[in-house]
């Protein structure tokens, strides 16, 4: 992959891994890093050999938040012209499964980045927080929206208003993360989950993600119609034939993503 300043990427089988790579700054996010993540994600999304994307952070933490230095002098006009959050919108358009493997501090923008993932595997030592309120601001890259959709208004307001740290157990209890693992095994467990998904029919995964995302934003009726069309569409795939034939022939299916 091309050279990045703030992330590192590598392939393991059909999984592409993106690692935030500013460990001395606890992977605090700057605009360049976000651009690099988006560029890498979009490249992996188009790359036919990639079936799953894993996002993690090097060093002691996933990400302690946005680079405050970049923002102290900002004003509404400069923010509007910079339009930095437009990059984040592109993350929501990634079609392949994104597995976040988080540990240590997952704060502010780091938490928002984690919430852009489809599945979150968390180390047991992880602490989540939106500390923006303590700086006289608030999350601006989807934090108030995505957290509320996951945990509900009650907890979202409590956590966003107080800025307090949330343990992995609490995050699990409120549906923010999928699984807690021992810190030593974070990447191993994330890769295990990635491998499990990599064996599933890619187009099914893709349209399931598309349909589930639709559910978050639409009426039940509208979502049902949308789901139905996606369901029908899968009957145009070779993998549907392969899956059903393998079932009848009592063998393991081999999906091509076509």
């Amino acid at each position: 992959m091309s050279n990045f300043d703030f992330i590192e990427t590598y392939f393991k089988g059909s999984t592409a891994v993106i690692e935030l790579n500013r460990p001395r700054q606890l992977n605090s996010l700057n605009t360049k890093m976000i651009s690099e993540i988006v560029v890498a994600m979009e490249a992996f999304d188009r790359n036919e050999t990639v079936r799953v994307i894993v996002l993690s952070g090097k060093g002691r933490s996933f990400s302690a938040g946005a680079d405050i230095d970049e923002m102290t002098e900002a004003n509404p006009i400069s923010l509007e012209l910079l339009n930095q959050f437009a990059e984040w919108d592109r993350l929501a358009l990634i079609k392949k499964p994104i597995i976040g493997a988080v540990h240590g501090f997952v704060f502010g923008g780091g938490f928002e980045l984690a919430l852009c993932c489809d599945v979150l595997i968390s180390a047991s030592n992880t602490e989540f927080a939106f500390p923006e309120v303590g700086l006289g601001v608030m999350p601006g890259a989807g934090g108030t929206q995505r957290l509320t959709k996951l945990a509900g208004r009650t907890k979202a307001l409590e956590w966003l208003w107080t800025g307090e740290r949330i343990s992995a157990e609490t995050a699990l209890k409120h549906g923010v993360i999928n699984k807690i693992v021992y810190p030593e095994l974070l990447m191993e467990e994330a890769m295990k989950f990635a491998n499990k998904l990599a064996k599933q029919p890619p187009l099914s995964l893709r349209l399931i993600k598309d349909s589930v995302n639709k559910a978050v934003d639409s009426s039940l009726y509208e979502g049902m119609q949308y789901e139905r069309k996606n369901f029908y569409l899968l009957f145009a795939t070779q993998d549907q034939k392969e899956g059903m034939n393998a079932f009848i022939e009592k063998r393991k299916p081999d999906y091509q993503g076509k």
Binding site: V181, Y182, E184, L185, E188, E189
Partner: protein, 257 residues
């Protein structure tokens, strides 16, 4: 660096002495903080493979220093701010922690002893859940640990009647691990700690995680954590050393890694 405690690391053992002997090592906020900091330091120090907590002078710890207590204070907030963080730091520590109970362990001093993995008791030691005598309830995790060690019935007796437990009775009821005579106290404590410091430290840390998981998780989740713990243990040098020593019919030498 510390004023209310003594902290030294020697031969793989971190010795933490509560050091306010003229006050029977009673807790003040500074001592809560220093115990917490020392345990944190021991936890992240690769040289440390065992922690011993004991008291200077004739007491282990007499509990909260009443000179710091005033009628208007919020007792709950004192726990949240001072005792809770200290006890939590001890709970998070992945090194084996020995409470070397040299004398009376009363109130929060009793709680501190309970938070350790082992309790070695001198003949001079005693335990006293003194809280009820001043109209308070056992705190700093006291009943959480006490019920696990001695069961509900005995824990109710000790905390509601507030009767003193002698060192010998403590061993009998499973509250303490070993009774040690005054004459051999230092030598025996040192031998016990030295033995712990020579064991596979990483595995001990993982065993401690499983012991905690027993009280925190459903059986299904416990089995999953157990599998993760065994996976990590299986990757350690000490596991390989243990197997090699067994095959080679020699004594294993563990590095703790």
């Amino acid at each position: 660096m510390f004023e209310t405690i003594r902290y030294d690391v020697k031969d793989g053992i971190a010795w933490l002495y509560l050091n306010r002997p003229t006050k029977l090592n009673a807790f003040i906020a500074q001592m809560n903080r220093e115990v917490k900091e020392a345990i944190k330091a021991a936890s992240s120090d690769d040289q440390v493979r065992c922690v011993v907590i004991s008291g200077e002078g004739r007491a282990f710890c007499s509990g909260q220093d009443l000179s710091e207590v005033d009628e208007n204070m919020d007792h709950g907030q004192v726990l949240r701010d001072h005792y809770g963080p200290m006890i939590m730091q001890i709970r998070k520590c992945e090194k084996p922690i020995v409470g070397a109970i040299n004398g009376v362990a009363a109130g929060a001093g009793f709680s501190l002893a309970l938070a350790c993995d082992f309790r070695l008791v001198s003949e001079r030691a005693s335990f006293l859940n003194a809280f009820v005598h001043v109209g308070l309830i056992p705190d700093s995790g006291n009943l959480y640990y006490l019920t696990q060690l001695v069961g509900q019935a005995k824990a109710a007796e000790l905390s509601i009647l507030g009767e003193k437990v002698s060192a010998a009775d403590a061993v009998d009821m499973g509250l303490a691990n070993r009774l040690i005579s005054v004459e051999t106290w230092e030598e025996d404590v040192n031998a016990f700690a030295t033995r712990l410091a020579s064991l596979p430290t990483k595995a001990i840390g993982l065993i401690k995680r499983s012991l905690k998981a027993v009280t925190e998780l459903s059986f299904e989740d416990y089995l999953e954590q157990e599998a993760q713990g065994q996976r990590i243990a299986g990757l350690t040098n000490d596991h390989r050393e243990g197997i090699n020593a067994f095959m080679g019919k020699r004594k294993p030498v563990y590095s703790g890694q």
